[in-house]
Symmetry: C2
Subunit: 353 residues, 2 copies
Amino acid sequence: MELNERKRKILQTIIEEYIGTAEPVGSRAISKRSDMELSSATIRNEMADLEDMGYLIQPHTSAGRVPTDVGYRFYVDSLMQRYKISMEAIARMQRELENRVNQLDMLIKKASVITSALTNYTTVVSTPKLNSAIIKKIDLVMLGGQSVMLIVVTKTGIVRNRVINIDISASELEQLTGILNSRLCDLTADEISYARLEILQKEIEQRLCIEPNILINILNFVYETIGLLDTTEVYVDNVQSIFDYPEYRDVGKAREILNFLGDKKSVQTLIGSGRDDRDIQIVIGNENPFEELRDCSLVTVNYSVGGKPIGKLGVIGPKRMNYAKVVSSLDCISENINKILYEIYTGEQGESE
Amino acid sequence: MELNERKRKILQTIIEEYIGTAEPVGSRAISKRSDMELSSATIRNEMADLEDMGYLIQPHTSAGRVPTDVGYRFYVDSLMQRYKISMEAIARMQRELENRVNQLDMLIKKASVITSALTNYTTVVSTPKLNSAIIKKIDLVMLGGQSVMLIVVTKTGIVRNRVINIDISASELEQLTGILNSRLCDLTADEISYARLEILQKEIEQRLCIEPNILINILNFVYETIGLLDTTEVYVDNVQSIFDYPEYRDVGKAREILNFLGDKKSVQTLIGSGRDDRDIQIVIGNENPFEELRDCSLVTVNYSVGGKPIGKLGVIGPKRMNYAKVVSSLDCISENINKILYEIYTGEQGESE
DNA sequence: TATTAGCACTCAATAATTATGAGTGCTAAT
DNA sequence: ATTAGCACTCATAATTATTGAGTGCTAATA
């Protein structure tokens, strides 16, 4: 059966009412709304139909109705109205992001904090990952004693640094750094294969007189560290917000969610599993692969440098979350960080794509 | 009144029983323990005394006794036995730390995760801070377009990096980097004053032909970034463990704690407020400055490079936490990370002090 | 004098019981 | 097609009864 205009209207009203109150909504509540000119009995009939069609369900016989996953899905796909974020909120967001503009990780973390403040749901963010990133600088810094710090910088501003313990003179280290930079800069991380480094090793052995074992150690370390460019971290913000929603009143539920969110691995899988090819993605209840999140929904958005997605920002909340507001918020914030990333990494003012 | 041996014994038993069960302990339970050769009536009399002296309290007339803050304080200061950590646990800890040894921040975060696994309480850790650190390298890397990354490295392996947007040629940048390094390296962060940079600015203006405004911009940026060495981050782990303890069954309590732990500022103040001059510190219940933590205890330990404390690691749990185990765990892990830090930043095998 | 058995009393926690009322489905009238 | 009316359902809240762990006190005992 197709949903006629009236059924759509009723379904939308029910879902929005439920999103607001978390209480099963009854026929009388709907019929009393000023824009509904129907008696509760009529609404009841329509609700029975909507239940038959799988959009609603009754927790028990004498209760009102609650949306099903299918109901929410229909709502976000077809009924949901666009939410308008206030100009002040946008201005505030932009101000806050400006402050952090020059530390990539900080920018992303800040975006997560802003999103959680804007929506009051838990946010999840993955730090930028880009193994096809171009290496811009390799640096070996003598710290003191025998400890040497290796720093790798990519064109997109990702930095990895690690310390190694080796016995090498300052001048040798400087020469080695020069060769590494001249040979490896402007390559992408995946172009720097183990084989390539072995060739480089031969070359260096001819030009410098560094103890072979030490050289191998260093090159291995460089190789590993470049591999680290591929790793991402995830950060979770505002977990405590779950206590603002009655669905987590039950300690068992709250515990389950927090357990899940406390496990970086799972969160990483969760947020990483989204597709890169479209902007906003919504996953509702059981659509989710994780058993622990069957009562939650997840909305994610990609953020990009010059159109290339490098990470994700997401919101986790109860299934009855305010999808309209969340979608708009994520839209808005991703647009803003994309613009900042674009400007900072190309030096041009302009479209974030 | 002084506590005689029998009272001490009884108090210790009561506290340890309560730590284990979270239930008010009654006279019968104590009297039945194999090493107590006293009837419950006698124990009752002693318990009444201990209550008069302020070490115990009854939640209500017909309940057993619960330790007061004063009781716990006496316990940790005078009664607590040393807890022995298993060799396997120590070996596992050392193995796990080895893996992360070459990224300072990672090492510290890992230490926090290990501690929470070892104790099953929430852990809090502050990343290294050292504004008296010696600058070892300043690097300006051209990323592309007009964006330039500034990297500052200290002798203790702390790295700060930020991106700035300026119009400068690669060769100018290289020369500038050279001068900055020759003039600023081996100074400590607080020695690099604004005035010093102004003098440096004059010098550079004479030697290079960089547009003055741009130069000022860069030097300001360097100054700010060096200032960032002073900042620390805090990380909180295993918050979900609170659900394992009945004192947080009440959602309001759990919420209060999570709210507190979700606020980096507060956590930073909390962990930062500990003293640097001694190793383990224990703060019990209301001894704590934060109202939200009146039902919690906090145990912290400093970690150091070569004897100089650079950060803190702490455990937050219910007042009836297993102090013996927590103290031993923190002792053990701080000893291990101190040793690693010492080795890696001096290149020597040896005492962590 | 210190210890203990015995007993009446207290009171939180649990279980059992009884309203209450929001909401439904169905029927008959409009 | 819509709606007023009514009997029925059942979760929630309020009320009452029951249980039992634990106490303090007293009198007997070693």
